[in-house]
């Protein structure tokens, strides 16, 4: 049964190879992709069922003894993130069947998409620091491929910027891994947790700072987020939704796993610094979003802003903070991906991502308003939507610890988030279309797009109306962190 723990990495890798084999036949490729993602989803749910019994799945490759073996460890935190990964993959693949900004149908798009899923899945379940680096690289190469296969100049430009900054990030990570191995002689998480207390505190702080900085580049935190708004908006919509939802969260997960679990208790000064970084990330992200008129750029800056909230939970360095982080991450991945997908539908109906050139959707598609408002208001944190519960958990803990400044920043940023979301609503829906002759196009193929977005909105509504289930799960997951 423990072999199931390899599924989050092996299933998408096998699917990537298979969709490459059938790449010359688009319909067959689509079918194979659907089967692949369903298998991944089934495996993820089976893993979830397994960890719900309180069991942690461990598989050591090649049957080597610990701590020599490369291990995959699936605990509650990892299992929940693997399920959400599979869910995002499913939404993206369903959306690809529509005609809303899905790119040029390049035959390598699906293989690379599965590559990103494999990288994320592997990073979530691995129990080995060097292996984590490898999965980050898998994600990086596949995300770069997805950026570059469009072939437009802006995509090449974006992929160059993405490459330069992210490659420096992974090299920093590799350097940090070398430093960790140099001072402890271990790479396995369990062995590292045991070896860490013996290291001299000053040296250990330097090593951990290096490691955290490398993960923060990947998470898109202040001040190392410049790669994110420079590149994301050139991706086709379903890929963008997947990448935007998942990739930065893998960085956050790595911070949580290292500071909150493996190297817990980490030096207090690191958590303190992380808190200020989180506050700055929230603020600068939302200010960037307020400046822009392109929906994709607005949403890309909101990723950064929301990353700040999630990092704040880690900075609080308590079980309640980690539970809030996990809850927030799960809620945010769904909401953010959904917003990008809805923006693509708006693009298909009105013809532009630029808010100044569009409008009139409320008259043309009144029900779509509801579809936008569910994720948009959830992102802001309006009760009773899922974002409200996430922020409530987070700020309750922040106030409980007397972190007034961080709390105030978080609340102010929420208001500014509301401003951005209202900008999208006012401009795209409420005002008249600038072109008086505009009519929504009739021969669209939006069925799959509606299915994907309504499905994700349904998950958001479920979390909103019944947060207890996820909350209990997140608290149980946080309680096991740091208990090595």
């Amino acid at each position: 049964m423990s072999a199931l723990a390899t599924a989050p990495a092996i299933v998408p890798l096998a699917a990537a190879a298979l969709v490459t084999v059938v790449r010359s036949r688009p319909a067959l490729q689509q079918a194979v992709a659907v089967v692949g993602i369903l298998v991944l989803l089934a495996c993820a749910l089976a893993l979830l069922a397994q960890v719900l019994t309180g069991e942690t799945l461990v598989v050591a490759f090649g049957g080597w003894p610990a701590p020599m073996a490369i291990e995959f460890v699936v605990d509650r935190t990892a299992a929940a993130l693997v399920v959400i990964t599979a869910l995002m993959g499913a939404a993206a693949i369903v959306f690809l069947a529509s005609d809303a900004d899905v790119g040029n149908g390049h035959p390598l798009l699906l293989p690379l998409l599965f590559g990103v899923l494999a990288g994320a899945g592997g990073a979530f379940v691995t129990g080995d620091l060097f292996n984590l680096y490898v999965w980050f690289e898998v994600m990086l190469i596949c995300a770069l491929g997805l950026l570059a296969i469009g072939g437009r100049v802006d995509q090449l430009d974006a992929s160059f910027k993405y490459l330069a900054l992210n490659l420096l990030g992974t090299l920093l990570l590799l350097f940090a891994v070398a430093a960790v191995y140099g001072v402890t002689g271990h790479l396995n998480f369990a062995a590292l947790a045991a070896a860490a207390p013996a290291v001299a505190p000053g040296l250990w702080l330097a090593v951990l700072t290096l490691l955290t900085l490398a993960f923060l580049v990947k998470a898109g935190a202040f001040p190392v987020y410049a790669w994110l708004p420079a590149s994301y908006h050139t991706l086709p919509a379903p890929v963008l939704a997947l990448v935007a939802g998942l990739l930065t969260k893998v960085g956050i997960y790595a911070v949580l796993r290292t500071l909150g679990d493996v190297f817990s208790p980490a030096p207090g000064v690191l958590h303190e610094l992380l808190g200020w970084v989180a506050a700055a990330t929230m603020l600068f992200g939302v200010l960037g979003a307020a400046y822009h008129w392109d929906m994709r750029r607005i949403l890309a800056f909101h990723i950064i802003s929301q990353v700040g909230y999630i990092l704040l939970g880690i900075a609080l360095a308590s079980a309640a903070g980690y539970a809030a982080t996990l809850f927030y991450t799960l809620h945010h991945i769904i909401v953010k991906a959904n917003l990008f997908l809805i923006a693509a539908i708006i693009w298909r109906l009105t013809g532009s991502y630029d808010l100044r050139r569009i409008g009139g959707l409320y008259v043309a598609r009144p029900w779509m308003t509801l579809l936008l408002l569910i994720p948009a208001l959830s992102l802001v944190g309006i009760p009773p939507l899922s974002g409200f519960w996430a922020k409530l958990l987070l700020l309750e803990e922040a106030i409980g610890q007397g972190r007034v400044v961080w709390t105030v920043v978080a609340l102010v940023v929420s208001v500014l988030t509301l401003y951005s979301m209202m900008k999208i609503w006012m401009e795209a829906f409420w005002k008249r279309h600038p072109d008086p002759d505009w009519q929504p196009p009739v021969n669209t193929r939006l069925g799959p797009a509606w299915a994907a977005t309504v499905g994700l909105a349904g998950v958001t509504v479920w979390i909103s109306l019944y947060p207890q289930a996820l909350l209990v799960y997140a608290q149980a997951a946080a309680a096991t962190l740091g208990g090595r």
């Binding site: 060097f130 680096y133 490459l163 490659l167 350097f175």
Partner: protein
Amino acid sequence: MIWAVAAAVWITLASGVYLCLSRDVFRVALGLAVVGAGVNLALLASGRLGAGLPAVVPKGEQLLVGASNPLPQALVLTAIVIGFALVCFSLALVLGLIRDAGTDDALELRAAEPVPGDEVKPPQTDPAHAPDWPPEGRP
């Protein structure tokens, strides 16, 4: 020995970072490769230096004496392979970029950016705030 390796790591890293800071995108790609080489050297040094024997127990022996630590060597091999793939990719990317964008100056690569003057950000009409982009008087 370790000090020599440390100096080599820092010299390599510094040269790589220097190349990365160039405005020439091709140099940036090369700089990233050089930084990668420096990091790989650091990774190799994270085991211990000195012993050069392969970590294979000779036939008929039971103990392994004086062998080097094989794990960092395995790690550095993996890192080299990954770095190699990324260098390949970045060179192909940079070639395509230079060809399609018609420039190798990072400051002129603005296709994915909102600049004053493009359709997302219309230029300000007040000449006092007129955009200075691309900056004039560059070589």
